[in-house]
């Protein structure tokens, strides 16, 4: 497999996708432009802001720092998939209840990063939450409400087990 454009086949939010992509196209641009999955946002485009956070093969990555061509054969989950499957419904509700977002630009990435921490199972400390979300910028909330929301969901999930 080589060239300026490549055929890739991957699974996005449970759906098989085959596309021809420019080698230079990043994963997040591919998701947004070729698949119209615009929930993943494009902020800084050099790995600093975290707005483009998606899951590739179960692990969160920067959608702007991976090429679509590298995702041949991969399983990708975006905020659309995580939302529609109900996986993060409690987290979304907590963000809403606690005003853990204003403009919402960072929210898809923030939710993906928070879920990555929560699915490990333990109840993280507030410091752990802050550290895990340190790669996701939010310019509205001051983070406090986000930490509150993530902490509340961690505790609720622990009780529910």
């Amino acid at each position: 497999m080589s060239g300026y454009a490549l055929e890739i086949a991957l699974t996005v939010n449970g759906e098989r996708v085959s596309e021809r992509v420019d080698a230079r196209k990043t994963l997040v641009d591919f998701l947004r432009e070729d698949l119209a999955l615009t929930g993943s946002h494009v902020g800084c485009e050099h790995g600093v802001c975290g707005a483009c956070t998606v899951r590739v093969d179960g692990e969160i990555v920067r959608g702007c720092l991976m090429l679509a061509a590298q995702c041949d054969g991969a399983t990708v989950d975006t905020i659309e998939g995580m939302s529609d499957s109900g996986e993060i419904a409690d987290l979304q509700a907590a963000f809403e209840q606690r005003n853990a977002l204003q403009c919402g630009y960072c929210t898809p990435g923030m939710l993906a990063a928070a879920q990555d921490l929560l699915k490990r199972g333990a109840v993280p400390s507030r410091d752990d939450i802050r550290e895990h979300l340190s790669g996701n910028y939010c310019r509205c909330t001051g983070y406090h409400a986000i930490v509150d929301a993530v902490e509340a969901v961690a505790q609720a999930r622990a009780k529910g087990r």
């Binding site: 432009e33 702007c64 090429l67 990555d116 790669g135």
Partner: protein, 303 residues
């Protein structure tokens, strides 16, 4: 719907039907992409003009997006077997070049036998970055503000590289040559790094100041030493973020070995430049602050 807008997205039941549209937005300049299946293939392709290796891509793709770099060919080595193991071998810890940062962070071998690297790991980027970024990539990229090059220098480690003439090993002190410049020849591929396994007398220390946890350091310090009675010997202080490469502070090392922390701070002979994060004067001050913190770690038994 709530006052803030649409948090919950009301879309059809899973799975989402993907609507296709054609987008033309790309940031990087055009390049060809080749996923290689062998090290030999990677070495051969590096002979092509302006070819670059793609490992974790966490620095490279950022530079492509900003067009600070415009290679003709990206050689994706992520599929290569045998380059991502972490193991203890003959008194050393060997880390394959393609070991991800997250893998090193979780590694029992590193936690037990390379505690300096274990301490540095959480400072390298953020979880999403560490899931992709590779140990070999950090060393080969040689960012002067990065953690791992300084750890390699502090531990007196070495690097394995394979090129058209075969394999060779390069000591850390000979590896970092200048700003983003290493001893690797154009067609050489870094395949592994090795550091001595920590034994009972080994002491390590690590501290870093960054604007935000996980960002590149304003100043950082990776250190190793040997416990010698109540004091220290073989002190190695490797600063990062204060020069074009990781930098040893040799005068301070000697002073610290003699047990005098104040003298060690006074002996710091660093010559940082101003950068976007801090002035040289601030960096020099912070280097002293970090030295006090790290000295404390080195002097604690069982560090």
């Amino acid at each position: 719907m709530n006052l803030l807008g649409t948090v919950r997205i009301d879309l059809p039941a899973f799975p989402v039907t993907i609507r296709k549209k054609r987008g033309r937005h790309v940031k990087p300049a055009p390049f060809a992409y080749k996923k290689v299946r062998s090290l030999d293939e990677a070495v051969a392709l590096l002979g092509e003009k302006d070819a670059k290796l793609l490992a974790g891509g966490q620095s490279l793709i950022a530079t492509l997006n900003m067009r600070l770099s415009s290679p003709s060919l990206l050689i994706d080595i992520n599929g290569l077997d045998g380059l991502s193991s972490i193991s203890g071998k003959g008194g050393a810890v060997e880390i394959g070049a393609l070991a991800r940062h997250a893998q090193a962070e979780r590694s029992d071998v590193i936690a037990k036998h390379a505690p300096l690297i274990a301490r540095a790991m959480p400072h390298i980027g953020h979880p999403a970055i560490r899931n992709r970024g590779t140990v070999g990539g950090s060393i080969a990229f040689a960012d002067p503000a990065a953690e791992l090059p300084a750890c390699l220098l502090a531990l007196d480690g070495e690097v394995d590289a394979t090129g058209p003439k075969g394999k060779r090993t390069i000591k850390a002190q000979d590896f970092f040559r200048g700003l983003f410049e290493t001893a690797l020849a154009p067609q050489e591929v870094l395949t592994a790094i090795r550091v001595p396994a920590a034994d009972k007398g080994a002491r390590v220390g690590f501290a870093e100041l960054a604007r935000r946890h996980g960002d590149y350091a304003i100043v950082g310090l990776a250190a190793s030493a040997r416990a010698d009675g109540k004091g220290l010997s073989d002190v190695r202080l490797a600063y990062f973020g204060v020069g074009n490469t990781p930098v040893r502070a040799k005068k301070a090392e000697a002073a610290l070995a003699s047990g005098n922390i104040d003298a060690a701070v006074a002996a710091l002979d660093l010559d940082p430049n101003d950068d976007v994060q801090a002035t040289a004067r601030v960096k020099k001050h912070l280097a002293g602050v970090l030295l006090r913190r790290v000295a404390k770690q080195l002097l604690e038994a069982g560090s």
